[in-house]
Point group: C2
Chain length 66, copies 2
Amino acid sequence: MDNKVKISRIQVNLTQQQLAEKIGVTRQTISLIEKGKYNPSLKLCLDICNAVNKTLDEVFWIEKGG
Amino acid sequence: MDNKVKISRIQVNLTQQQLAEKIGVTRQTISLIEKGKYNPSLKLCLDICNAVNKTLDEVFWIEKGG
DNA sequence: ATAAATTGTAACATATATTTTACATTATTC
DNA sequence: GAATAATGTAAAATATATGTTACAATTTAT
């Protein structure tokens, strides 16, 4: 479950805490998603995208092999 | 929770049942997602995209007002 | 119009995302 | 290097996605 949440978050200068609050979710949830240990809901993905000004593809799409 | 699963599925000539089997999920799950009554997991979204040859943005991204 | 296929939906069971609380570790600032 | 902020992580509780079974409604083909 790889993604680009962490890099996207840093690009808009948000801490996990701040992003979490902005979205209305727990800091732990953000942390686990960034670590790839959660399988987040679509709604949460969309909220994250919104907060970091990117689209789903930009944050959660992983190009398949080479 | 609007999306384009139904139209995407029809474009590749799959029934809900067939899509469900291809993904390894229940027909009901597909039905409810198409109806916008579920908030699917990212993994499931990715599986669906895979099955219908589209990206996350193409299937699950909703342009905001405008 | 009838039969068959496809889809909608409901109740209950199960798996798992998310919360809460709490503490340990790592990075940052002074 | 000490203090502070930021992050990683764990256990237990809760919310909710998904499975199972079953049946109704709708669509498609004959």
